[in-house]
């Protein structure tokens, strides 16, 4: 890895916006292809931060400033990438279920999924089951990700999964769930395919779920080489 790419990795990992922008500009000026700057610089930096998070050395402020630094660098790269045939790693429709207005956890998951190369369709909060179904079909989503904060709203998970089945799209999408009262046992109980305890693990779970999907993009988008460990690698806090 070149020195200038290392600067980009460190800048994103440390949440240093100015250095991220400077590093991306320097890498491009040195002739590094934009896709390489993205994969080996910005995405790699975000993943290093993810590892620190899992080790208990980084927390939400560090996640947010890291994503912000990545976005700053991406702002320079995006016009250059637009002409590239850079497919995403898959499309994920995400939202907080009907009757629940909780937002921040879901938004953090969406941010990190985007940062890790997924196309994310964020439906917002208080999303009806039929809206998840329609969005999944419209965007040909690989995953429908459901969030709930309250014990009173987790029953909506089953409603969404039933609606996906009723519409005949359940076989084409995987469903992952998360939120304060949600456990692996609850995920199994409602028939979800995946579950994550936090935003970093949500990215790993998406990798796992889409890796099993035809066209799920394990080979598409930013390279995953040496990046996020397997979901069962442990280390979750």
């Amino acid at each position: 890895m070149s020195k200038v790419i290392e600067t980009v990795v460190a800048a994103v990992r440390d949440g240093d916006r100015e250095s991220a922008v400077g590093g991306v500009e320097a890498a491009l000026a040195a002739g590094t292809p934009p896709q390489t700057v993205l994969d080996q610089g910005l995405v790699a930096g975000l993943r290093q931060l993810g590892e620190l998070f899992k080790d208990g050395q980084a927390f939400l402020p560090e996640i947010l400033i890291s994503v912000r630094a990545m976005d700053a660098g991406l702002g320079i790269l995006q016009p250059l990438l637009a002409g590239d045939t850079a497919p995403t790693k898959g499309t994920i429709v995400i939202g907080t279920v009907e009757g629940d207005l909780h937002d921040i956890g879901k938004r953090l998951v969406a941010m990190l999924l985007r940062g890790n190369g997924y196309e994310v369709v964020d439906l917002g909060v208080d999303v009806a089951a039929h809206a998840f179904v329609e969005a999944a079909a419209e965007h040909d989503a690989g995953i429908v990700a459901l969030s709930a904060l309250l014990t009173t709203t987790t029953p909506q998970f089953s409603h969404v999964i039933a609606a996906l089945a009723e519409a005949g799209v359940r076989g084409r999408v995987t469903v992952m769930v998360g939120g304060a009262p949600v456990s692996r046992a609850l995920a199994d109980e409602v028939g979800a395919d995946g579950f994550a305890d936090d935003c970093v693990l949500a990215v790993e779970e998406a990798e796992r779920l889409l890796g099993d999907q035809p066209g799920g993009g394990a080979s598409a988008g930013p390279s995953t080489e040496g990046a996020v460990p397997a979901p069962d690698a442990g280390g979750a806090r």
């Binding site: 927390f59 402020p61 009173t152």
Partner: protein, 405 residues
């Protein structure tokens, strides 16, 4: 069992009464305001319908029905979130909790816009939030917060003067005398640092602020510290407190929102200064309320002198039995009963209670309760059975509450 006096409370907290514990309402068994009202349809007394309208200090029908051990909060003293808290009806049928989060005067609640499904309002703490229509229980979506920069902070801090007369009951001497005549534990809120900033700034913006303007974070926390120290000194001049209550809410199921290094830098010195004032007043019990997984933060809080922790959310990975084994009698545990199990059926409920309460009460100080506020989907029959089960463990006569209702 003897009356729940100050002395008995103190002895329980010191771990001097193995097997004994309080079945306390105030600060321990807390209901979402909607819960008792929802229970009326399940056979609870009609008097449960309007508990939120009761003034502090007046007999609470729920406390009486469940025979909670007496405990008195100085909720008329505006040093935290309780004073002025109400269930505010913004438009017909849309009711939500309304806290002022230390701000005095509070913001005037206001309705900004509404459609068929929701209403956008500003609450007493200056937060703009969206509330759903047609919900028996409304957890808002925050849209905007009052502090955005130094200028807006300077405006907000005008509402944080410890000398504001309405922070204290009007007839202070009579109030203090009435409180001092009670032989039950008396508590007071002492604010918190992260929790209040989170309300004023908003979670995401606050996370950035720790990096973008750490001086402003320090300044806001210092303002809270000065307000709480001044109020504590004034109150404890006339009233003897048995426990005080910090509210932080700075963790989620994955762990704390900010790391231990930041807590040590920004919060620990301020806890230590405030706790010194608390200890000087003779108060031994310093309670901290933080949801989520607090394993990483507990050592810091203990170092700062905080010694009672609630609610110990099981869904977030908190295990009160493991905490007792790790910390012994040095800390007072409260909560830690998995509400999901208590809500399920009697067998699950009994298994959850019996696997924890007898051990925890026998091995150190413990106050049982569900691992957060009692939710609206807790069946009334389950809660009645739960209270009688606690009484059975403590050696009290059962109340046969379900039959009485």
């Amino acid at each position: 069992m003897s009356a729940f006096t100050k002395q008995r409370f103190k002895e329980i907290c010191r771990g001097d009464r193995p097997g004994d514990f309080g079945i306390v309402g105030n600060g321990i068994h807390i209901f979402w305001p909607e819960t008792p009202a929802a229970w009326v349809a399940q056979g609870a007394p009609q008097s449960f319908l309007h508990l939120d309208e009761l003034d502090y200090g007046t007999p609470n029908p729920a406390d009486e029905f469940f025979d909670f051990d007496p405990s008195r909060s100085l909720a008329e003293v505006h040093s935290g979130m309780d004073a002025g808290t109400e269930m505010h009806e913004y438009v017909p049928g849309v009711v939500a909790h309304n806290h002022s989060f230390l701000l005095n005067p509070p913001f005037q609640p206001q309705v900004f816009e509404q459609d068929d499904k929701s209403v956008v309002v500003r609450n007493s703490s200056g937060i703009t939030e969206r509330l759903l229509k047609g919900k028996a229980f409304n957890m808002p979506m925050w849209l905007d917060h009052p502090v955005k920069d130094r200028e807006s902070w300077n405006r907000l801090r005008e509402r944080l003067d410890p000398g504001t007369p309405s922070r204290y009951p009007a007839h202070w001497e009579a109030y203090a005398a009435a409180i001092n005549s009670l032989d039950c534990p008396v508590s007071m809120e002492v604010g918190g640092f992260f929790g209040y900033l989170n309300m004023w700034v908003g979670t995401e913006s606050l996370m950035y602020l720790f990096y973008d303007d750490p001086t402003l974070v320090e300044e806001m926390m210092e303002t809270i510290l000065e307000l709480e120290m001044a109020m504590l000194r004034r109150v404890t001049k006339d009233i003897r407190l048995d426990w005080v209550w910090y509210w932080e809410d700075m963790a989620y199921k994955g762990g704390p929102m900010i790391g231990p290094k930041m807590v040590r830098k920004y919060m620990l010195p301020r806890y230590e200064r405030l706790n010194a004032v608390i200890r000087d007043s003779g108060c031994e019990i310093i309670y901290l309320d933080c949801d989520g997984n607090i394993d990483d933060l507990l050592p810091l809080w203990i170092e700062a002198g905080i010694n009672l922790f609630w609610p110990l959310e099981v869904a977030a990975g908190m295990d009160p039995v493991a905490l007792r084994r790790q910390y012994g009698k040095d800390i007072i545990l409260a909560g830690g009963l998995d509400k999901r199990e208590l809500m399920r059926d009697r067998e699950s409920l009994r298994r959850e209670v019996m696997s924890k309460v007898p051990y925890l009460a026998q091995t150190g100080p413990y106050f049982p309760s569900p691992d957060h506020l009692v939710p609206i989907d807790m069946p009334f029959d389950n809660f009645c059975y739960y209270i009688d089960l606690l009484r059975e463990i403590r050696g009290d006569e059962p109340l046969h509450l379900a039959a009485r209702a």
